[in-house]
């Protein structure tokens, strides 16, 4: 997966001018994995209310991107909140060089960490209202956990290019500025690449439609 996010392919046609659009939807039919933690056998009662992460959100991206996309990736800033004992959003997609803020919006401590190869970090424990930041300089998949709450986990997908999009609540996505060419389009959901399709952007201004169903 990390290699896929980083690969610089050779599309049939490259263009540095304003490109076309790839859009569509991702229908997730597979049952989402459990959002609960380990059996709380040693607890003295039920746990408090917690949010359920939206595990139907997907990331759609070009597995091979135009070479130009790698010359000047646009680093950005994103937020992965900790709210009601859940990471929000469950999946975050950023470009290499981006910084992600991890605010704590709960009244309890959290301890965000990752042991993923592209970026290992441990932010320690900090209270509500405080935030810590991490810069991601290597492409790949970074799995994020809370040391205190084992049910809390999230994904950060770090891309070496800018041709990706996260689906909205209805499962729609839209990747803009794609130079004309033929590309391998992949959909990632809940930890895995679930589907791949070939898609062609014929000319600048062209709109290529591609829908996915994830079983």
């Amino acid at each position: 997966m990390a290699a896929l996010l980083a690969s610089a392919g050779s599309p049939a046609q490259e263009a540095r001018t304003a490109g076309g659009t790839i859009r569509g939807s991702v229908e997730v039919r597979r049952a989402p994995g459990s959002s609960e933690g380990r059996p709380a056998v040693a607890e003295l009662g039920h746990h408090g209310p917690r949010d359920t992460p939206d595990r139907r959100r997907s990331v759609v991206y070009l597995e091979t991107a135009p070479q130009a996309a790698f010359e000047a990736p646009a680093p950005g800033r994103a937020v992965l909140d900790q709210k009601n004992e859940a990471f929000v959003p469950y999946v975050l997609a950023v470009t290499v060089g981006s910084t992600v803020d991890f605010p704590n919006s709960d009244r309890v401590y959290h301890n965000v960490f990752s042991l993923s190869k592209p970026r290992q970090f441990d932010l320690g424990r900090y209270p509500k209202g405080q935030s810590r930041s991490v810069r991601f300089d290597q492409p790949g998949v970074v799995r994020v956990f809370c040391e205190i709450h084992s049910h809390m986990n999230a994904f950060i997908l770090v891309f070496a290019h800018r041709y990706f999009a996260t689906t909205d609540a209805e499962g729609r996505y839209r990747i803009e500025g794609v130079p004309p060419g033929t590309y391998a389009l992949a959909v990632w959901n809940d930890g895995q690449v679930r589907a791949r399709r070939e898609v062609r952007v014929a000319a600048p201004g062209d709109v290529a439609e591609q829908d996915f169903t994830v079983e």
Binding site: A31, G33, V41, E43, L44, H46, Y109, Q120, R125
Partner: protein, 402 residues
């Protein structure tokens, strides 16, 4: 029958390892029946040289530093207000035993009141609810929750000299009244077994209160009552801020088995209790966690022959531990502790009824992956009695959990 038990133990171990591997690979607990049933577990292996002073034994045959443990837990959600929780464990490939099995109820939605019935987690103290090895920064178990004193629940000394003669020999003691077989002594609090009964928790942060009525006692938890006595225990928890948690615990229960009481002379018939009080503190911030616990326990024994044991037998265990994260996946930890005993009169004068023990332990833990934890530690023990009065142990532990 032993062959069948071995087969069951090996099968359970294999199942545990497979589930642990599957869970670790998936990065989350194994979920069945649409999430209504969740499985979690842990496989841990701990290795150390022979502990010739028996400092780390929690049973005559089981040392916490020479232990291969498979632990499987399940939670079945029956309704939004009811769950059944289950935990089974096998130590050193022995036949699996049920560690927890209880019904958890929240009768009124929105009210912070929980009821648990069955083989329930202890309310006393804080350490016993750190059930998994990955929640313990060091391989060993604190003395107050593991170390075997020279008291037994099924046999008692007839005079204080017999008790004092067994100072520092709690792993295997024999007394003339009650069971005639040699056996392991009692810890202040047995964290290796849970007790059976009813438990109630009410309140919400920053204050909550947990109460329990159970069959056994802190030092000898039971599935079936052995003396018609019940233990009442409680813990008041206070969490004034996310960084600080404190608890005040108490317990009182009849610990002496009926088989001992039945052979006592008429004048010594009575109720022999374990009473205990505890204080636990946890402070955490940034890369630090600091914990401290004190457990005081008092037992009453029948006063039979001179020199008679008329004074209650007190013990006080205390530990403080700290963990600091050096980098992602790597931490250093240390624990210092002391277990002391009250003095009683004997023919040789005033002596502590068991030999005081002091322990320091320092080590580190490393997680190459989230679901794997490797620990290493060095431990030094001092004891004012027994055949081995001092020893050093180096231990290693590997934990795979999901």
């Amino acid at each position: 029958m032993p062959k069948v038990r071995s087969i069951v133990a090996v099968a359970a171990t294999a199942l545990g390892v497979c589930l642990a591997a599957a869970g670790a690979r998936a990065g989350e607990p194994v979920s069945l029946l649409g999430g209504r049933v969740r499985l979690g577990g842990e496989v841990s292996g701990t290795i150390a040289p022979h502990d010739l002073g028996w400092f780390n034994y929690s049973d005559y045959q089981v040392s916490s530093l020479r232990l291969f443990r498979v632990d499987l837990a399940a939670e079945a959600r029956l309704a939004s207000f009811a769950s059944v929780l289950f935990d089974v464990r096998s130590d050193n490939l022995a036949a699996p035993r049920v560690y927890a099995l209880y019904l958890r109820l929240r009768p009124w939605a929105g009210r912070e009141l929980d009821l648990q019935v069955g083989l329930v987690p202890p309310v006393f103290g804080a350490y016993p609810r750190r059930r998994y090895a990955y929640e313990n920064p060091l391989p060993s178990v604190p003395l107050a929750y593991q170390y075997l004193t020279n008291l037994r629940e099924d046999a008692v000394p007839s005079r204080s000299e017999e008790l004092v003669a067994r100072r520092g020999r709690g792993w295997r003691v024999r007394y003339p009244v009650g069971s005639s077989e040699a056996g392991p002594g009692l810890p202040l609090v047995n964290s290796q077994k849970w007790d059976t009964g009813v438990q109630l928790r009410l309140g919400r942060e920053p204050l909550s209160l947990a109460l329990a009525v159970t069959q056994g006692t802190l030092c000898y938890p039971l599935t079936r009552d052995q003396n018609d006595g019940k233990q009442v225990s409680a813990r008041l928890a206070w969490t004034p801020s996310p960084s600080l948690a404190a608890g005040l615990s108490g317990a009182s229960g009849e610990f002496l088995a009926r088989e001992v009481q039945d052979v006592l002379p008429a004048g010594a018939q009575g109720t022999y209790r374990q009473k205990a009080a505890g204080l636990d503190l946890q402070w955490s911030h940034g890369y630090w966690i600091v914990r401290a616990e004190a457990v005081w326990s008092r037992w009453n024994l029948p006063a039979l022959e001179a020199t008679r044991i008329e004074e209650p037998l007190d013990a006080l265990g205390f530990f403080a531990e700290a963990r600091y994260k050096i980098r992602p996946g790597l931490y250093a930890a240390a624990r210092a502790e002391r277990l002391g005993f009250s003095e009683i009169p004997s023919a040789a004068g005033l002596r502590t009824w068991d030999a005081p023990v002091t322990r320091v332990e320092a080590g580190a833990g490393f997680s190459p992956w989230r679901y794997v934890l490797v620990k290493a530690s060095w431990q030094h023990n001092w004891r004012d009695g027994g055949a081995v009065r001092e020893n050093d142990l180096v231990a290693g532990q590997v934990v795979l959990w999901f």
